[in-house]
Subunit: 138 residues, 2 copies
């Protein structure tokens, strides 16, 4: 728990009770979470607080936002080495068509693509949809 407090402080985010709980919640999940997920997990807390917590976490590089094509923003903790406050950590994401869960594949970077003349890339998002490890039964 003191761990989390330090992590937050290192990112210059004040470690309030709520923030620590949210961080803990996300750390225990291995999948990306939506605002609604957190809302359900912490029924007593107000949605706005959770919303702004995620925004703060995102600004400070604690979590990154994930667009998995569901039109519902997901969030996941950044890996220790990640510095996506500065530049996007271009790993890909996988969305399961069966269980509807989204995971970071942090080891799998988005391949470089050649663009037509005049196009300048600044960011990229690659989402693979299919059947996840759990659902495929391997």
């Amino acid at each position: 728990m003191k761990e989390i407090e330090k992590t937050l402080e290192n990112k210059s985010v004040r470690p309030t009770a709520m923030r620590i709980l949210i961080y803990k919640y996300m750390a225990e999940k291995e999948i990306a979470v939506a605002l609604t997920d957190i809302e359900n997990a912490f029924a007593k807390a107000d949605r706005t607080t959770l919303y702004r917590t995620l925004k703060t976490f995102e600004e400070k590089g604690i979590v990154h936002q994930i667009d998995d094509g569901t039109n519902i923003s997901k969030y996941a903790l950044c890996e220790p080495g990640c510095n996506c406050e500065i530049e996007q950590d271009l790993h890909l994401h996988f969305h399961c068509n069966n269980c509807d869960e989204t995971v970071c594949l942090t080891e799998h970077k988005i391949p470089q693509v050649n663009l037509p003349d005049g196009y300048v890339a600044e960011d990229a998002n690659l989402v693979i949809k299919g059947i996840c490890e759990k659902c495929s039964g391997r």
Copy 2:
């Protein structure tokens, strides 16, 4: 104009006046369009009609839906050879951070990626964000 009628009929979509107009509108645009764009272009038509027209077009493989990360669904006509009713035509899309326009890069296919064991890919979406040809000035 007769061209469009035939195109629609070939895809087993009845060529109503509205549908022909929408098709024409999309054919003239070189960029992906949102429902709101069409709505603005055809102020007299009802939003629902336009919405359902796009859905019909999509089901029949006349257009494909594009998720460019803006959380606003875009649509673009399918290329002549495209058969994305059956399998996804995996070209990438480019979204300009400056003019906010999204284009299909139909010549640029999404590169194959290796997934961890147990993961099965069924579909993929790759969006590059940056500065487009028009906005970069060459």
